[in-house]
């Protein structure tokens, strides 16, 4: 019963909130690109193929695109095929990280 309640509460939280919270809590250092919310194993693999093997390289691209949401989302879609939610999660996380650390 308790497990059922816990499962429900877990699912109702945004599924990337854990990843997001973990990422924006500290400097990203040399974290892999899969540490970014929205970027899982498959998308991460595609990004690594394109040369974006670390989260900080993606940050570089984010900054070069002047933190523009539309441009970054388009770039993400072109690079690894991220869908709208994944784009949103990744963009939102990087923007927040920049607000805190940059």
């Amino acid at each position: 019963m308790l497990q059922l309640i816990l499962w429900i509460s877990d699912k109702t939280m945004s599924s990337t909130s854990k990843k997001h919270g973990a990422f924006v809590a500290e400097p990203m250092g040399e974290k892999r690109v899969t540490a970014l919310p929205g970027i899982g194993k498959i998308l991460g693999g595609r990004m690594e193929e394109s040369g974006f093997d670390k989260a900080n390289v993606v940050l570089g691209q984010f900054l070069v695109l002047k933190k523009d949401e539309e441009l970054f989302d388009n770039w993400l879609k072109d690079t690894c095929g991220a869908n709208a939610k994944q784009q949103r999660d990744c963009y939102g996380c990087l923007r927040e990280w920049c607000d805190d650390f940059l």
Partner: protein
């Protein structure tokens, strides 16, 4: 339409300015994105002032722009008023970045060839517009973002409450229909 993929990075940057597209540095990783944007702008037939002929012969251009320099200075200050008036119109449109930039992109091609002292002065008025515009859009996007985050639950709130009530009702039914033994009497 000349082949965009064969253009050099500075050429793409200039084209973006001509179409009034707001952009960051054009480097290898951003090149394709901006080429796409240019293609979209070209097919939509947006206002563009092609000055490719001017960028080729830079030495000649310096002589030419010398004549134009004095009018453009007064143009910028005079046009400042015009930009203010046209601003309310632009905010209603979808591409507010791009159209606002296109409204003052006209004087820029004329001095592009001269990388001399004039540049810092010329960039003064556009940059202040850029700042105030980015603030407005940043505020707008900030307002939108909290709204989006609130509705990003996987399972809607009302559904959760409904489920909880159904579960409570079910448990009550089960409990009330149980046969009472000696051991349970203490609870009831």
């Amino acid at each position: 339409m000349d082949s965009l993929s064969s253009k050099s990075l500075p050429e793409i940057s200039n084209l973006l300015d001509e179409y009034g597209i707001k952009h960051g540095p054009v480097v290898e990783t951003t090149r394709n994105l901006y080429v796409k944007k240019l293609r979209e702008a070209m097919t939509k037939g947006k206002r563009a002032k092609p000055s490719s002929d001017k960028t080729f012969y830079r030495e000649e251009e310096e002589e030419v722009t010398y004549v134009y320099r004095t009018p453009t200075r007064s143009d910028i200050s005079g046009d400042g008023g015009a930009y203010m008036r046209s601003r309310p119109e632009w905010t209603e449109r979808e591409y507010e970045h791009e159209t606002s930039y296109s409204s003052y992109s006209k004087p820029r091609p004329e001095y592009r060839g001269s990388d001399l002292v004039d540049e810092p002065y010329m960039y003064d008025t556009p940059s202040t517009y850029k700042n105030s515009y980015s603030k407005i859009t940043a505020m707008k996007s900030e307002q939108q973002v909290p709204k989006v985050q609130k509705s990003s639950r996987l399972v809607p709130l009302w559904l959760q409450l409904l489920f909880f009530l159904a579960l409570a009702a079910f448990l009550y039914l089960v409990f009330s229909n149980m046969e009472i033994n000696e051991s349970i009497k203490g609870i009831m």
